[in-house]
């Protein structure tokens, strides 16, 4: 029997998906801003963060309301507990995208950077992995959730390569060196986005199977 309050659970899931879509949009647009040197786009991404923050608060409120009023059990409890963590990870992803936008603007002030190292590729994979994590949640697909955990390693590797590419590098102007530092921070932010996608997938696995695989040793 479908109860009237189950609609509220669906609404909550819809709001999480909306958060996810906004976070993906922000990450995609900020990478485009970096690669094309589009300051306007970077500023647009900076302005998108508040909406995600508001959605996180809304989702938290919906979770508290559902837990308090509708006596959830079983997979509904797992969904609500996981939803809180997922919302937080999505909010952090939006924050990372916003931080990247800030660094894109700093780089832009010093003039365009010709060599973006492996950062564009890292960004592309980070977006793919985030999409995979969100699809895993929406479709309740355990295989997709597990694939996210494997693919996160690809982002870690590219982040490492970006550091290594700058080791012992000489001949860059001070401006370029300073922008490379910003680029390394961007690489790190993308690596964090990968980590958040992985966290989301761990929560999806918890929702679907009840298994808690966080902090696996």
């Amino acid at each position: 029997m479908q109860r009237f309050f189950h609609d509220e659970l669906r609404q909550l899931q819809d709001n999480l998906v909306l958060m996810g879509e906004r976070s993906i949009d922000m990450t995609r647009l900020v990478m485009q801003a970096l690669e094309t040197g589009d300051d306007k786009l970077a500023l647009q991404v900076r302005g998108m963060d508040d909406a995600v923050d508001d959605l996180e608060k809304l989702v938290d409120r919906e979770i508290m309301r559902y837990l308090t009023l509708f006596g959830p059990m079983g997979s509904d409890v797992r969904l609500l507990l996981a939803a809180r963590d997922i919302a937080h990870d999505l909010e952090r992803i939006a924050d990372e995208a916003s931080v990247i936008a800030k660094r894109v603007l700093v780089i832009s002030q010093r003039g365009p950077l010709k060599d973006l190292l492996h950062v564009p590729e890292e960004g592309r994979i980070a977006i793919e992995v985030l999409r995979l994590a969100l699809d895993g949640f929406v479709e309740g697909d355990l295989a997709k959730a597990k694939l996210v955990i494997t693919r996160d390693a690809e982002i870690d590797l590219l982040n490492r390569k970006n550091y290594e590419a700058l080791f012992g590098r000489s001949g860059d102007s001070i401006k370029v060196s300073a922008s490379n530092v910003e680029l390394i921070f961007i690489s790190k932010a993308l690596e964090r986005i990968g980590d958040h996608s992985k966290n989301i997938s761990e929560q999806v696995i918890f929702i679907l199977s009840g298994e808690d695989i966080r902090h696996a040793r």
Partner: protein, 229 residues
Amino acid sequence: MTLDIPERQVVAFIGPSGCGKSTLLRNLNRMNDLVDGIRHEGDIAIKGQSIYDPGLEVISLRRRVGMVFQKSNPFPKSIYENVVFALRVMGVKNRATLDEACETSLRKAALWDEVKDRLNDNALGLSGGQMQRLCIARAIANRPEILLMDEPCSALDPIATGKIEELINELKTQFTIVIVTHSMQQAARVSDRTAFFYLGELVEYDTTEKIFMNPSQAQTEAYISGRFG
């Protein structure tokens, strides 16, 4: 105590046994008039008109304010006759009018599909949950504005309870509902506003979300979190 009950909302009365919630509920259609030695102070008004207005007949008040009790109490008559009972008392004889009222009320009570082929069967042959929904159909056939429900699910299993709760959620689009329940979970699920009573006093009255998520009174917090007594 003072409390406003908004139109077309569900208001729940909660509190420990003996707190006066059922007594207050029964005042709303003057059922307590039947109690020996009853007296009252203060006033209860429906759309501004006092229910103690000498010009208002108690029977017409009870037509406006229907009631469903803890224990379902169908008459030992057919399902059909139970639903149209009040209309017959009012003198309605037209068969088409009665048929329409019967079907409409049973549909609103989410019982039509289960009983449409056996309307002439004795109502006492229905299950507990069906009997309670029949009593709701009987109450709404009279087209009341307000429905009082005194522990309507306390004798029902979880599935029948779920059906009544769904029904309450449907009915609030057309009726104002006041429900007394011992189940805080039920009050939380079905009501828009909740009143918490203790020892005959109204301790707190607010939106159900506020009462169960962040009540203003320590006594309410203690009661809803099971730390009472």
